[in-house]
Symmetry: C2
Subunit: 256 residues, 2 copies
């Protein structure tokens, strides 16, 4: 609870700069669930006293975590653990847009929920040992009422031991939000491998396209703070009326 002092002073041969050390400690506290999602951190001045460093050093550490979207700063109010709510997820991790480039949050429909030993691809991506089980969830996502995305999700049984169909069916939040609130698992990083794929019979039926129609196939691995893979997702997207939008480089600055 950050009650006892935790000075970084005692000349203990730090490999990293002070602010990196502070950043690590804050990250560890975050991982340990010391502050809830949306909760305020102690003020910069208090953290500085606590770690026995200057305010500027704390500011630099917090600044990097803000850049990584782990924390949020609000002038006059404080620094908070970033909310991984619907809007945030939409902004950060969801890249499917309509022809005008607009994002819309999809409606989710559960197709199947099973517990099984995964195929080789899933096991490998999730770094599972032989025979380890996963929950496999198939999900159909509709945008504007029409099916656009089909997801096959695999999550390790070891990470989400008592996961339940009802969790998925009745959740009022994103899937990542579910991981967060029910298991304290925060997704901080995604790797997406995007390819083209001709629709097979099952997928074509679900997405209402012809067999053989070109779909987007996205293989995606989600990682936690410490780099542990916690979800493997195979996603098929009907890109007739939608697209995967990726923006690289400088954000719109327009100082001309």
């Amino acid at each position: 609870m950050l009650t006892t002092s935790d000075s970084l002073l005692p000349g203990a041969m730090l490999a990293d700069p002070l602010y990196v050390e502070v950043k690590k400690r804050i990250t560890r506290s975050l991982m340990a669930g010391e502050w809830r999602e949306g909760a305020p951190l102690p003020s910069e001045a208090r953290l500085a006293r606590h770690y026995a460093v200057s305010v500027g050093t704390v500011r630099k550490a917090i600044g990097e975590l803000v850049a990584e979207k782990v924390l949020v700063r609000q002038p006059g109010r404080g620094t908070f653990v970033a909310n991984r709510n619907r809007d945030y997820m939409l902004d950060a991790f969801f890249h499917i847009v309509d022809a005008q480039g607009q994002k819309e949050f999809p409606a989710s429909e559960l197709v199947s929920f099973r517990r099984l030993v995964p195929d080789a691809a899933t096991a490998s991506r999730l770094r599972l040992s032989r025979g380890a089980q996963v929950f496999q969830i198939e999900n159909l996502l509709r945008i504007g009422g029409r099916p656009v995305i089909f997801d096959r999700i695999g999550v390790p049984h070891s990470v989400f031991p008592d996961l339940d169909v009802e969790d998925f069916r009745h959740r009022d939040q994103t899937i990542f939000g579910l991981y967060q609130t029910r298991y304290g698992v925060t997704v901080t990083r995604l790797e997406e491998w995007i390819r083209g794929a001709n629709a097979d019979a099952k997928t074509a039926g679900l997405l209402r396209v012809r067999r053989g129609e070109a779909l987007l196939r996205i293989e995606r691995v989600a990682y936690t703070y410490d780099g542990t893979p916690v979800e493997y997702r195979e996603r098929y997207v009907n890109t007739r009326e939608h697209a995967y939008l990726n923006v690289l480089g400088m954000k719109k600055t327009s100082h001309s």
Copy 2:
């Protein structure tokens, strides 16, 4: 040339914080081509004196430009205009990897070079007025000797007036490098719209796949510092042995 002083002091009702103002001025100098690619900027101390602000303020401005990969800092040496060389391009703007996630720089083969009035999609993406002409370049990219990517590139005649086939055929650099060195046009931002597409006869022939095979189709617009679109590229990727890799969120930190 940054010879005369350019103080920001005279209480001239600045809307932005000082460091944002400094950032804007540096960006403007960059756009005006005041410092060549790879050239060193004046030291932080000199810039601080020049703008009549503190070193810390200059550092914050430069820091943001470094985060945007416009500048590069080297301890003990100085601050430099980022090199948009092959390696940088590969890292920043090229996302096609092989099955192991490795990037390899593709070999380029010119298929066609024409000057024409573009189709509606190209004209719209490049914000061209009716009747404005573009150069259209078709390019086949090979990775490991095999054709993987087919590009149809459109660039406004107005931006690259005397562009020549030979420029493309004999360049020893990336296409963006050509824009930079020959026309002073620096690409800082990309928008990529990714979809699936069934290969048509021509593309199938070039990429040596069956007609109807699912390819990745990437529509891409490249923008300059000030947001002007300077290139529209339609790209088809054979993703049998390759993929478009996108990484979102925190970079690997691993402070556990």
